[in-house]
């Protein structure tokens, strides 16, 4: 087994970029910051492709099964002899797959930002943050220790916070970043406690060991964790569910999704990188990483399944009603991640039953490409029209042909139209769902249809609906002769479009499976009729609504009535949160405590002091100044002492 230590460079290069740009960027390097970041990331990308090649096609397989290789293990913080945070690098199918995804998408975003963020004041800082994020994400992907996952988990969270609040003088951006951080932080609390539980009963924090101990039914650890129970559920269930809570927070699963739409306040390339392709799928990755353990507990899996399905449907419905294109994309992301989640939930570990797992990973893979493509496309659109609102757009297909084509491809991909990438992965998911759970299958199918509807609603609204004159948008100064940005913004679109077409043909089932052994799948044409047809119908419906401006959509909307408005209002989840925080926690917990501290706790201390002073004031009469009273007190003292010591204490 050859040495994979050079993988270390893949995260370290972005880190180095971050440090350099962070320290000297503002002053000295603001010119070449972008190039620097891109260059270093290019290197990591190449490296990760090398890794992928080496692992998948050279020496990853040992007698037909892909091995888990721990390339590095360094004890970073020891809690007690066998429980410690080890910084490690794990090489297995999913981590390598994620390496490829993260680096390549990140690279695309870097390139795109060269054009998109051009002339920004804090250009260097932007790239520093991008590198920081990339580093954290890579570190997360490579973690071999669950606490290491948690660390990079937090780092990912904070770099997302920094990037969302990049336009820091925009209050809405600041608010969004705060929201994102706090909500995910809340989820992470669950994650942390989950880790504590697993670590306590597992007696280790090393993922490999945890899996090994919790999957062998007779190990003492497994017995102890399953025998221990709290509120009727076994500690295993608790631990896993709480870990999943962390994942749900990062992956914006219902009801912890509220931060994702607002996060769109960040620069669009950032949304493409963080909130479409990489960070938001961290939750899925986490579940996949711990999957063998999850597979030991039915309850946890069911929770995952239903949360995933619910989010998928919920998000899809909302997406149909939003008018901010980035928000539409955000909700579609949420819905797609829902897919991945329930795919994991319905899966089993190993063999044929591992189909869901494979499908989920496959979808994660394909989704990364077409969704980042969508965002970058939206980015270049926004870059041109300087607005996120559909109503400001329309008929752009002539002005930005490349973007148009790329966007269309992406839409087809996400709609699951063969032969585009999304088709294959979604197909696997549906198959798995069909085999495991009919209800889920139904939801998935309906969601698929919705997906293609709202995506094409988006597409038509941007590129068709009304005829836009060139003049309408040719106003921007820096010579957008045919409306689209410089080549650095177009190149990524083209590449990603190619991927969106191509990656579907990757023999994924041969490479990434739950147990590492190859899994032979086949596209069952009969089976795939239903979803494809549905999607096509949905597309046609969308076309009829939005290709030309006509009242149909509004009529339908009115037909739905209250439900529609509820959907546009995102079903009032945000309001609920705001109510809980602003109306319950602050006034009923925070204020009283703050008040009590000043007036009761501190008040008590003051009271002691005041009482002393008061007593002093009261007894001053003793010192009457009359010498006769003094003599009297004197005699009183004598008498008192005499009585005390002759009669009482004698």
């Amino acid at each position: 087994m050859s040495n994979y230590l050079y993988i270390l460079w893949i995260p370290l290069l972005p880190l180095a970029t971050f440090v350099i740009l962070g320290l000297f960027g503002r002053k000295y390097l603001s010119g070449i910051a972008g190039l620097l970041g891109t260059a270093s990331l290019l290197t990591s990308t190449i490296l990760s492709f090398v890794v992928a090649k080496q692992y998948f096609f050279v020496d990853g397989k040992v007698n037909g099964v892909f091995q888990k290789i721990v390339a590095l293990k360094y004890t970073w913080l020891e809690f007690s002899p066998n429980v410690s945070i080890d910084l490690g690098i794990i090489v297995d199918p999913i981590s390598v797959m994620m390496l490829v995804v993260v680096t390549s998408v990140s690279l695309m975003v870097h390139v795109f930002s060269l054009g998109y963020m051009k002339g920004e004041e804090r250009f260097a800082t932007y790239y520093a943050f991008l590198s920081l994020f990339t580093f954290s994400m890579l570190g997360l992907v490579l973690s071999a220790n669950i606490f290491q996952v948690y660390m990079f988990w937090e780092l990912v969270g904070v770099s997302s916070f920094l990037l969302i609040s990049y336009y820091f003088n925009k209050p809405s951006a600041v608010a969004a970043s705060k929201k994102a951080f706090i909500v995910t932080r809340f989820a992470d609390l669950g994650f942390l406690i989950g880790i504590l539980i697993l670590g306590y009963y597992g007696g280790t924090l090393d993922i490999g060991l945890l899996i090994e101990r919790f999957t062998s039914v007779h190990s003492t650890q497994f017995l102890s964790i399953t025998s221990a129970s709290f509120l009727g559920a076994s500690m295993l269930t608790w631990g896993l569910t709480l870990v999943f809570m962390g994942g749900a927070g990062k992956s914006a699963m219902f009801p912890l999704h509220i931060w994702l739409p607002d996060a769109m306040e960040g620069p669009t390339p950032v949304s493409a990188l963080i909130h479409a392709a990489t960070m938001v799928v961290a939750g899925v990755y986490l579940v996949a990483r711990m999957f063998p353990v999850f597979s030991m507990d039915e309850t946890a899996l069911n929770i995952i399944t239903y949360v995933g399905a619910a989010s998928a449907l919920f998000a899809a419905v909302i997406a149909c009603t939003q008018t901010d294109i980035k928000r539409v994309l955000a909700y579609s992301t949420m819905s797609q991640i829902g897919y991945m989640m329930f795919a994991l939930g319905i899966s089993k570990n190993g063999g044929e039953n591992g189909l869901g797992y494979m499908a989920s990973m496959f979808h994660l893979f394909t989704h990364a490409f077409f969704k980042s493509l969508l965002f970058l496309g939206a980015g270049s659109v926004i870059h041109m029209v300087h607005s996120n609102e559909m109503k400001d757009m329309g008929g752009l297909r002539k002005l930005m042909p490349i973007t148009h084509i790329a966007f269309l491809i992406a839409c087809l991909a996400i709609a699951g139209i063969p032969p585009f990438a999304g088709f294959f992965s979604k197909e696997e998911i549906l198959t798995a769902a069909f085999q495991e759970n009919k209800i889920i299958y139904g939801i998935a199918l309906f969601t698929a249809a919705l997906t293609s509807f709202y995506m094409f609603r988006l597409y038509f609204n941007i590129f068709w609906s009304k005829e836009a004159t060139v003049a309408a948008h040719a106003h921007d100064a820096q010579g957008h002769d045919h409306g689209e940005g410089p080549w650095v913004m177009k190149l990524p679109l083209i590449i990603l479009a190619a991927c969106a077409v191509g990656v579907g043909f990757v023999p994924f089932s041969q490479l990434v499976t739950s147990d590492g052994a190859a899994l032979d799948t086949h596209i069952d044409v009969v089976f795939s009729i239903a979803p494809v047809v549905l999607s096509v119908l949905a597309i046609l419906l969308a076309a009829s609504f939005y290709k030309k401006q006509n009242g149909k959509s509004d009529k339908v909307a009115n037909a739905f009535g209250g439900f529609y408005t509820a959907a546009t209002k995102k079903f009032y989840i945000d309001e609920v949160y705001i109510f809980i925080t602003k109306k319950i926690i602050f006034p009923f917990i925070g204020q009283p405590i703050a008040w009590a501290d000043r007036n009761i706790v501190d008040g008590f201390m003051l009271l002691v002091a005041k009482t002393t002073a008061k007593i002093a004031e009261l007894i001053k009469g003793l010192q009457s100044g009359k010498v006769q009273n003094y003599a009297l007190y004197f005699f009183g003292g004598v008498a008192a002492l005499s009585i005390l010591f002759i009669y009482i204490w004698k």
């Binding site: 002091a609 002393t612 002073a613 007593i615 002093a616 004031e617 007894i619 001053k620 003793l622 010192q623 100044g625 010498v627 009273n629 003094y630 003599a631 007190y633 004197f634 005699f635 009183g636 003292g637 004598v638 008192a640 002492l641 005499s642 005390l644 010591f645 002759i646 204490w649 004698k650």
Partner: protein, 469 residues
């Protein structure tokens, strides 16, 4: 025999000689106050030196007068204190035309104390006591023109006469029940019957009056306030110290058979004294009155130490008195300079004092910290050892009570510091020209306050010569 008298009685003799010298100077042609003061200070210095030559244990006049290393040391302390006081009151006496009378009075009283300390007999003790009290009453009235001064003197003389009547009653009953006045024989006859206990209580009340323990303390504040600062500091430091020395001697040597009783008496007195002293001190604005009550509180701590009834107890007491001399005299020194030069005696007058007189402020501050018992000043050690001695009896209720009272005392000491450093005054005390002698005295005090604590030799020496129960 003669030789013995010369050796063992030397401190008293020197003092007597000094007193007569002063008389002659008074009678002779008048000299400038400065020269007289310098002469007196020199003489007092010699007097202080007298203690350090050769000290041996022994007794004179068949046990009427006895002396030993401890007693000599105690007398030295008092001499030192007198020297410091006389140096500090330089500014005040410089312009007084009765300064010799002042010295006559306080030195006579000092002589009385010497006899009281080394008395081996109730009669001797009584003589010493009165000899030390009566001149002080006169000295309290030294500012003949001040209303307060005469009022103070009146209060002092009347209440002390009353207390000595009570004391005498006690002595008479002791005599009646034991048939002797000699300490060494007295012990054997003590059996703790009610009459003896009553006699003892009368006696202890007399002591409590002198050391101003609650409820026998009421004269203190008024007298301190009314008398001239020098007299006040003499009262606060020296007479208290002398009586305490005697008291420990009596309790530890004579009243051993009824130790269980006097322990409880001390506990009660201590608790009351600390509390009342603190509560009154909080409210005071007149500096001397404030120091009076704070010294009352200090006495409470001293009583706790004595109640430990161990060698640590007596050693800590003497150690504390030494520190107390430095701290209290430093404080009084500043006050006396200020009141002599500006006539201001209120804490509120000291606002913004640091701006104008940093040196005096630091002296006063260190003194206050030492009184409060804050390290690294010696007061910390003094107070702590007293408490330790008390804790030996395992009465932690009392110790906790005292410890918490230390917080109160801390408050009012800090109040003064606050006034000095942190508060503004429309017309702060202007820059003062402190006489060199007084300055010297203050420096001695400061050095004493730092060194006495940190240099453990002092304590260890005192411990080696002091007595246990």
């Amino acid at each position: 025999m003669m030789y013995n008298i010369l050796i063992q009685l030397r401190q008293e003799l020197v003092l007597t000689v000094l007193i007569f010298l002063l008389l002659f100077i008074k009678l002779g042609k008048d000299r400038s106050n400065e020269s007289i003061l310098n002469f007196i200070n020199a003489a007092l210095f010699i007097n202080l030196g007298a203690g350090f030559c050769c000290h041996e244990t022994g007794e004179l006049f068949n046990g009427m007068f006895n002396t030993n290393a401890l007693i000599v040391f105690e007398k030295n302390l008092l001499n030192l204190a007198v020297l410091l006081i006389s140096m500090q009151s330089y500014a005040w006496l410089k312009n007084s035309k009765h300064l010799i009378e002042f010295y006559l009075l306080i030195l006579t009283s000092l002589l009385g104390m010497f006899f009281m300390i080394s008395s081996g007999n109730l009669l001797m003790f009584y003589l010493g006591l009165e000899m030390s009290t009566i001149p002080l009453a006169a000295a309290a009235n030294f500012d003949l023109t001040k209303r307060k001064s005469s009022e103070a003197a009146m209060k002092l003389i009347l209440s002390s006469a009353f207390s000595s009547a009570i004391l005498l009653m006690g002595i008479s009953f002791l005599y009646g029940t034991t048939g002797t006045l000699t300490f060494s024989i007295l012990t054997a006859h003590l059996n703790g019957n009610p009459l003896q206990l009553f006699a003892f209580i009368l006696l202890i009340s007399g002591f409590a009056f002198k050391i101003s323990a609650v409820p026998f303390h009421l004269w203190t504040a008024d007298v301190y306030e009314g008398s001239p600062v020098a007299v006040t500091s003499f009262l606060a430091v020296i007479s208290k110290g002398a009586v305490l020395f005697t008291m420990v001697n009596l309790l530890y040597k004579v009243f051993t058979p009824i130790a269980s009783t006097w322990y409880l008496v001390l506990v009660v007195l201590a608790a009351a004294t600390i509390l009342i002293g603190n509560l009154f001190a909080i409210r005071q604005d007149n500096f001397k009155r404030f120091l009076a009550f704070s010294s009352i509180a200090q006495v409470g701590f001293i009583l706790i130490g004595i109640s430990g009834s161990s060698q640590i107890g007596s050693a800590s007491l003497i150690y504390f008195i030494l520190i107390y001399i430095f701290s209290n005299l430093a404080a009084f020194g500043v006050v006396s300079v200020v009141s002599a030069l500006t006539g201001k005696e209120n804490i509120s007058d000291f606002k913004g004092f640091y701006k104008t007189n940093p040196m005096l402020s630091w002296v006063l501050t260190i003194a206050l910290f030492s009184l409060a018992g804050v390290p690294p000043t010696a007061g910390f050690f003094g107070k702590l050892f007293l408490m330790m001695a008390g804790a030996a009896k395992g009465n932690y209720g009392l110790i906790t009570f005292a410890a918490l009272n230390m917080v109160i005392s801390f408050y009012y000491y800090l109040r003064v510091v606050k006034a000095i450093f942190m508060e503004e005054h429309a017309t702060p005390i202007e820059k003062l020209q402190v006489p060199t002698v007084s300055k010297l005295a203050m420096y001695i005090c400061v050095v004493g306050m730092i060194v006495t604590g940190l240099a453990s030799v002092v304590y260890d020496y005192i411990y080696s010569i002091s007595i246990g129960l």
